[in-house]
Amino acid sequence: MAKTIAEINEKIRKGQAVVVTAEEVIDLVEKKGVTRTAQEVDVVTTGTFSPMCSSSAYFNLGHSKPRIKVGGGRAYLNDVPAYTGLAAMDIYLGAAAIPDDDPRNRVHPGPFNYGGGHVIEELVAGKDVRLVVSTYGTDCYPRKKLETWINLKDLNEAVLFNIRNAYQNYNVGVNLSNRTIYTYMGVLKPNLGNANYCSAGQLSPLLNDPYYKTIGMGTRIFLGGGIGYVAWHGTQHNPDVLRSDNGVPRRGAGTLAVIGDLKQMQPRWLVGVSMVGYGCTITVGLGVPIPILTEEILRYTAVRDEEIFAPIVDYAEAYPQRSPDILREVSYGELKSGRILLQGKEVPTASLSSYPKAVEIANLLKEWIMKGDFLLTEAVAPLPGVEAGITFKPLKERPIEE
C-alpha cells in the first residue's frame, strides 16, 4: 500500500486527499483497523499550543539616515533588550528576555508582566513597537542614538526562529516541599497540592511520529498561524531515552528547531505569557502533518493518551538539584482525568498546554490541506534518531584558576 509524498500531494492538488486529525484517527483505526485506515487516510494532522521558551525572532530594521550601527550597541524593543551582536541593522529577540528594570524576583514571586514573547505578539498583531538604540559611532555609521516606532510591515525581514519547540514528551511537575513554589511548570502548591503537565499528548507532533520517520529537516508545518519549516533538530534533542513498546518515549526526548516568516503569522497563535516567579515566555501554536506512507506510520499516529507515559518529578528538590529521581510514571489519560493518585494522595492535575487549541490547530492544518493550500514536503534530511548516539550531556564545571 506504500504511498509516496508526491502521490499524496497530487491528491491534495486535486482536492481528493483524505485528511484526519491525530485525534480522529484513533477512532478510525478502532473502527476499521490499521490496514484499511492506512489505505484510506493520506495525512494525519497534529497540533500543540504550549509555552515554549526557546522561541525567538530576528529582524532587519532597514537603515536609518544618517546610518547607525546597531550591531555592537544596545537595542531595546518596548524596553525589552534585543541581541545586537550581528551586522548593522540585524537584531535578535528572545521570548524570555525581560526589561533591564524589571523587578525580577526581588519581591518573590515576581510577576514578570512583559517580555520578549509579548513584544513578538504585539509585532505580529500589527502594533507599533518602540525601538531605542544607543551605540558607538564610526566613519560609515556616524549616528549614536535612535528612538523610533517600528511596525512589522515596515521591516525588511521578520523571522520567527525557535531553536527548541514541540518537546516530545515532558516532565509532570509536583512539589513535595511544604511551601508553594513558582516554576516554569506553573505554581506548584505544597505537599503535592497539584501536578502540572505540558503536552498535547495524543495530538502532539513528535508523539505521533516517535521515530521521526516523516518529520525531518525541511518539513513544512503550521507555525504561529502561518507556514513554517523544520530547520534542524531542536536543542537538547535526545532520542535515545526509555521508550514504550509502541515506540513512544517515556521521557523528554526529541525536539524541533523551526523557522517561518513572522509577517504571515497571527497573534492568536503566538501569545506572550508570564510565569509568575519564573519569567516571560511565549505560547506557540505548532502543527505538523504526517503523511501516511505505510501502515507502520499510521499505527504510530493512532496512539492514545492512555498509551503515552510521562515521569512525575519533584520541582522543589529533585529538579533543581538535577537528581534523576522520578516519583512514578503516569499516562496522559490519567492526567486528563483531572486527578492522579500519588503517594496515597489524590492530586489534582492541570495542563499548561491547551488541548482545545491543539485540536483547533490540527483542524486548521487539516482544512488547509483539504483545500489544496498546503502541500507536504519531503524531508531534506532526517532528524537524528535513536541510533545517532546522542547523549544529553550535563554541564561539566571546571574551576577557573586565576
Partner: protein
C-alpha cells in the same frame, strides 16, 4: 423570603473608622461572611461579603449602606475573564479554591462560573496569558 448575595462594598475614607458592618448584623439581623477585606485607614476600604437574611432585612440593610455613602457593586462584575486572552490551558483550575474555574471534561475548555467566584484573586498571577482581571 430569605436572600443570599455576594456584594463588594467600597468604603470612602471618612467611613473607614465607623462600625458599619456591626450595624448590619445588629440592626438589620443579617448573616454575613467576609470573603475579603482590605482596610487602610484614611484611604478607601474594600470588603467582599456573602450577605444573607430575610428579604426585607436585606433590602433595609442595603439601603442603610447606601445612605451612609458605601458604594455597592455586585461581585460578578469585578473578576472578569478577558475571553480573547484565555488560551484554555487549564493552569488556573488547580489554583481556584472554589471551583469557579473548572475544566469541561468534554471540550477540555476552562469554564468560568462567576457565581462561584469569591474574588480571592489567587488566579490572577498564575494565569500565563493574564486573562483574569480585577475591577474593584
Amino acid at each position: 423570603m430569605a436572600i443570599s448575595k455576594r456584594v463588594v462594598l467600597h468604603f470612602p475614607p471618612r467611613l473607614v473608622e465607623q462600625p458599619i458592618i456591626y450595624k448590619l448584623v445588629k440592626d438589620y439581623n443579617l448573616v454575613l461572611n467576609i470573603l475579603k477585606a482590605s482596610v487602610t485607614p484614611k484611604e478607601e476600604g474594600l470588603m467582599v461579603l456573602d450577605l444573607s437574611g430575610a428579604r426585607e432585612d436585606y433590602d433595609r440593610g442595603i439601603q442603610y449602606l447606601q445612605e451612609t455613602g458605601v458604594k455597592i457593586q455586585s461581585l460578578g462584575q469585578d473578576i472578569i475573564r478577558i475571553e480573547a486572552k484565555c488560551t484554555h490551558c487549564g493552569a488556573c483550575v488547580v489554583i481556584c479554591p472554589t471551583g469557579a474555574l473548572a475544566l469541561d471534561p468534554q471540550t477540555r475548555r476552562v469554564n468560568f462560573y462567576e457565581d462561584k467566584c469569591t474574588a480571592c484573586e489567587l488566579c490572577v498571577l498564575p494565569c500565563p496569558p493574564r486573562a483574569m482581571e480585577v475591577h474593584f
